[in-house]
């Protein structure tokens, strides 16, 4: 009896509502950790790819050759590669048409790159809203479980004529487990959300800078030709 109640026992003996709340929170936590790891890997990969591509791009290699290499690549193009190839594709395609105004051509190229950029942005930000949702709502869900549990334990207390701390304590402790799980789910989610959205911001800036640089190169090329 003197042995403190184990948390596992508390969870197993909790009322059904509290248990449901805990189950939801554990699932949310699990899902958010999946997202955290997946995003972590994905963003690192994108960053590395972008760095590699930039090195290759500025190495003075022929851009037509670079485009052909990317085109032959099996896997999906991501990040800078995608922006580059959609821009270059539009450029070469418009170029083949007779009598296209260089300014119109540049507009087309820029539009194509903007589309690619926004698609990349979308890809970078996948799951971030989920993390934000888990981070902001799971404390409330946990709180709901706690309030419900405490409510019930006090309701039970009303019928007991010898009210002592040991009567209420297990109920409250059990209810508080829900809040604990809620916070356990929320804290990593919030941290990850902040971290990832900052990283996404940095990557997007880099993409935009690259887009500008690349379009200025294409601009020069298109006006030189005419």
């Amino acid at each position: 009896m003197n042995e403190p109640l184990s948390i596992v026992d508390l969870i197993l003996n909790a009322s059904i509502v509290v248990q449901v709340v805990m189950a939801i929170l554990i699932m949310a936590s699990l899902a958010s950790w999946v997202m955290i790891f997946q995003r972590g890997f994905a963003l690192t990969a994108i960053r590395n790819d972008a760095a590699e591509f930039e090195i290759e791009f500025w190495s003075g290699k022929d851009l037509g050759l670079l485009y052909k290499e990317l085109d032959e690549q099996e896997s999906d193009l991501i990040g800078l590669e995608n922006i580059f190839s959609s821009g270059f594709k539009e450029f070469s395609r418009s170029r083949q048409q007779e009598g296209v105004d260089p300014d119109r051509l540049m507009q087309n190229v820029q539009r194509a790159m903007r589309v690619a950029l926004s698609r990349e942005e979308e890809r970078l930000e996948t799951h971030l809203t989920f993390l934000a949702t888990v981070g902001s709502t799971s404390p409330y869900i946990g709180l709901f479980g706690t309030v419900w549990g405490i409510m019930n334990s006090f309701r039970g207390l009303a019928t007991v004529n010898q009210a002592s701390l040991s009567v209420v304590a297990p109920g409250i402790s059990e209810a508080l487990v829900a809040t604990a799980i809620g916070l356990f789910a929320a804290i990593p989610a919030v941290i990850a959300y902040n971290r990832f959205s900052a990283q996404v911001e940095v990557i997007l800036n880099r993409f935009e800078a690259f887009t500008d640089e690349f379009s200025s190169i294409l601009y020069r090329a298109s006006h030189k030709g005419s």
């Binding site: 948390i7 699990l30 899902a31 955290i36 790891f37 890997f41 994905a42 701390l165 356990f184």
Partner: protein, 249 residues
């Protein structure tokens, strides 16, 4: 990176993280943190002892008589052992109550009237009766004792309830000191209402006595057994001992 593969790896990592946390919780790694709750509050701790001096005297008497008697029959000893056992159980209950960590005043109960009433009476009869008679008495004795145990347990609950109420209503004056004690004699009517409270033994401090009287009168009505016999015997009139033991001063 292949997205399905990245999700699988991420999922495995997530499971790993949760597994570690669950294992830590399951093994009660923070057990010693929980034990801190054992520290007792050191000043809010008063003891109220409800005592019936009449039965207490009787108890002493019977003890005296017992010591005078050289010869005791076997059954009697058995009975006594039985009685001791029940007493031990009460003691246990008492200590359990005492361990209650709530900052409420702790309740301590002296062996309550009933059980002592039963036993000495039988003893006296046993002395008077002849050796053979004693045997049959012993049998009845044992039955009574057994009945008394359950009855006493019930009575204990009432006593405990009354004590709780009194303790709740008792606000000690600042002049109260450890070791002061006041005994009040309380008269009840069968509905449990308090009709009279008298200071039987003053503590020497008027404020203290007044606070004790007030504690009883404030309660107005106690829960008493519906059984008229029991009420008459134990609850019609009883004494309450007020003695704060664990004040800071």
């Amino acid at each position: 990176m292949d997205s399905a593969a990245s999700y699988t790896i991420a999922f495995l990592f997530a499971i790993l993280v949760h597994g570690i946390v669950a294992a830590l919780i399951a093994t009660n790694w923070n057990q010693n943190l929980i034990k801190v709750a054992d520290v007792k509050p050191y000043y809010i701790d008063a003891t109220v002892i409800a005592e019936n001096p009449y039965t207490a005297r009787k108890d002493r008497e019977s003890d005296h008589r017992k010591s005078q008697r050289d010869k005791k029959i076997r059954q009697h000893r058995l009975d006594e052992a039985d009685f001791r056992k029940t007493q031990a159980r009460w003691e246990e209950e008492k200590t359990q109550q005492k361990e209650d960590p709530a900052p409420q005043p702790v309740i301590e109960t002296k062996p309550e009237p009933e059980k002592s009433v039963e036993e000495p009476k039988v003893d006296r009869e046993a002395v008077r009766s002849s050796f053979e008679e004693e045997l049959s008495f012993a049998v009845i004795d044992e039955k009574n004792a057994r009945k008394a145990v359950t009855d006493d347990e019930k009575a204990m609950a009432y006593v405990a309830q009354i004590q709780r109420e009194i303790i709740q209503n008792w606000s000690r004056p600042p002049s109260a000191r450890n070791g002061m004690q006041a005994i009040l004699r309380v008269h009840l009517v069968p509905t449990g209402e308090v009709v009279d409270v008298k200071v039987e033994e003053t503590s020497g401090n008027d404020a203290f006595d007044r606070s004790a009287v007030l504690a009883v009168t404030k309660s107005e009505r106690f829960v008493v057994p519906a059984d008229a016999m029991r009420f008459e015997r134990d609850f019609r009139e009883f004494t309450v001992l007020f003695r704060p033991d664990d004040l800071r001063l």
